[in-house]
């Protein structure tokens, strides 16, 4: 690898370059291998199949809706954690980040205990309204929000902390209420962090599998998202699973690139 002439500090040391190159290979090789291994014919079949179209659409819709919920719930929570000094703040932060380290299947089991048809809140809800989350598209959204919200919250909190409180202070001296300050100063200045948090949450939702299938089962058109479809397809047809995985990869990359250009601050 050659470096540009603007690198005035000298040649980057091999002790850093080699692990960096290894990291790139580690991340790129499996995906490249998957592209190579995919049979073009099965790719064509997969693209035309109704289950794929249904699952892909469901994945995109549920991930996007989950991302919006994460924004509506996570931004205020992140603001609270970053800007308000209250007793138990550290405890609250620790609690809301727990789902980040949970195995997804545990998340699914926990969701079932809370919102399942015989769950702590699920049963009264079912009795009162006739609605239950599991095995519905709303259940998929709920599972996505549960696993993504911590990532979104922590990312946005980081963005808010990076933006700092100096401008909030200035706004307060200019007579702005906290709500006005939040809308007109805090959020605009933390926008890169908020956007990064939303993209992170969206990506996390798109790839969510364990909690979703545990909580919602596998109903085509209703709860069968792309990862679930790929898992199920693998049971009967490995080639089809490979083709579906490739479609998922392409869609994920395409969306991330589009978001990056539009929202994320491009690196120089």
């Amino acid at each position: 690898m050659s470096t540009t002439s603007t690198d005035t500090l000298g040649r980057p040391p091999l002790v850093l370059m080699l692990p960096a190159a290894a990291a790139v290979l580690l991340l790129v090789l499996p995906l490249a291998a998957m592209v190579v291994a995919t049979d073009p014919a099965s790719l064509v079949d997969a693209l035309g199949s109704e289950p794929l179209q249904e699952a892909l659409w469901l994945s995109l819709v549920t991930s996007t809706v989950a991302m919006l919920f994460c924004l509506v719930l996570g931004l205020p929570l992140a603001w609270l954690l970053a800007r308000v000094d209250f007793r138990g703040r550290r405890l609250v932060r620790a609690l809301v980040t727990v789902p980040m380290v949970l195995p997804p299947v545990v998340a699914g089991v926990a969701l079932r205990a809370a919102f399942g048809r015989s769950g702590l809140f699920g049963e009264p809800l079912l009795d009162a309204t006739g609605f239950a989350f599991p095995y519905t598209t709303w259940g998929v959204v709920l599972a996505h929000v549960f696993v993504s919200l911590p990532f979104v919250t922590i990312a946005i909190e980081g963005g808010l902390r990076t933006a700092g409180t100096a401008y909030d202070d200035a706004a307060a001296t200019l007579g702005a209420t906290r709500w006005t300050t939040f809308r007109r100063v805090t959020v605009p200045l933390a926008l890169p962090g908020i956007a990064a948090g939303m993209v992170l949450g969206w990506a996390r939702s798109l790839g969510e599998f364990g909690a979703t299938i545990t909580f919602n089962g596998n109903y085509p058109g209703t709860t069968q998202t792309m990862p679930t479809l790929i898992y199920v397809a693998r049971q009967s047809d490995a080639d089809a699973a490979l083709a579906l995985s490739l479609v998922m990869l392409v869609v994920s990359v395409a969306v991330l690139v589009a978001l990056r250009d539009k929202w994320l601050v491009a690196a120089p």
């Binding site: 202070d169 706004a171 209420t177």
Partner: protein
């Protein structure tokens, strides 16, 4: 609007500030003091950004029970803090809109203030596209446009080019003359204190150790910091202070022959041009400054590390009480 009676404050921030200050309406108090004396803490306590106890009454109203937005203050921060995502115009209009003005009226008034500060042509620029002096003008307009009862200026000329600062100082003086509220101006520049202020408060370790007319304080400084600020040497003897000009100091390599009590041995710490002279800093039992001619400086080899004797004639020394 309530009658203007000025500011009467005794603000306490544990371990940082315990400062009493009384300023009449239309007056400008310059607050000086070394780094860490509590100058910025005082500004933040007055604005409400740092919680303080004690007393703070502005035009008859108690400030301490109020949030920053409920105090009618205008703040020019040391780092300006212009909102980077808003144009100069919207920065200035922000305070008006926050206080309920509609967009059109707020912008019209903001444009008027940008004009007063001679930066109306930059109204649509973002802060990042402004020079330091231009940004400071916008910040001053933003603080004054809401017609606050209390104007807080935290080192408004720091970081500006000397020429820009001089120009802005003159203009700010004009606006302060028209301003009917109380102004607190934090500065580390004697020139600000002497040209803009109606009174000078010296802050030392969180306390106001001297507060009086600027020329009075300058003539009889009670702290070494202020003495340095106005370019005087000051020596404490019991409860009396003795001050003398660096120009009156005689510098020699040997102890002076006469047995004057005003003589000190020390080591040259630094030297810099000061007008036509060279001002040298000497540290020993006392930290003192002395002005010598460039010729004498060369002759005596007054470079850092050189041992010297300083002396001053008794007739050049002003002696006054340490407390008033």
């Amino acid at each position: 609007m309530t009658a203007r009676t000025g500011l009467d404050a005794n603000l306490v921030v544990p371990d940082r500030l315990d400062a009493a200050l009384a300023v009449g309406p239309g007056e400008v108090v310059a607050v000086v003091g070394p780094n860490g004396a509590g100058k910025s803490t005082l500004v933040h306590a007055l604005s409400g950004l740092v919680p303080a106890t004690g007393r703070a009454v502005l035009d008859g109203a108690d400030l301490l029970g109020r949030t920053p937005r409920e105090r009618s203050v205008g703040v020019v921060f040391q780092d300006q803090r212009l909102f980077p995502h808003l144009s100069a115009l919207d920065n200035v209009a922000f305070g008006l809109r926050s206080r309920g003005a509609d967009n059109r009226a707020a912008r019209a008034r903001a444009r008027d203030w940008l004009e007063r500060l001679a930066v109306a042509d930059l109204a649509d620029r973002r802060p990042a596209q402004l020079s330091g002096g231009q940004a400071q003008r916008v910040a001053i307009a933003r603080a004054l446009v809401t017609d606050p009862d209390l104007l807080l200026l935290d080192e408004p000329f720091t970081g500006l080019d000397v020429g820009v600062a001089a120009m802005l100082r003159i203009e700010l003086g004009r606006h302060l003359a028209e301003f009917r509220g109380v102004t607190v101006l934090v500065t580390h520049d004697a020139l600000d204190a002497l040209t803009l202020a109606t009174s000078l408060a010296v802050l030392h370790q969180g306390r106001v150790v001297q507060h009086g007319a600027p020329d009075e304080v300058a003539a009889r400084p009670r702290t070494e910091h202020v003495a340095r600020l106005v370019g005087l040497n000051v020596i404490r003897e019991g409860d009396r202070l003795r001050s003398f000009s660096p120009a009156a100091v005689t510098v020699g390599l040997q102890a002076p022959a006469d047995s004057t009590r005003n003589r000190w041995q020390g080591v040259v710490r630094g030297a810099a041009p000061h007008g036509d002279a060279i001002r040298i800093q000497v540290s020993g039992d006392r930290d003192l400054i002395a002005d010598v001619t460039p010729a004498a400086s060369r002759e005596l080899a007054l470079v850092p590390g050189q041992q010297v004797w300083l002396s001053v004639k008794e007739t050049a020394v002003t002696t006054y009480d340490a407390t008033s």
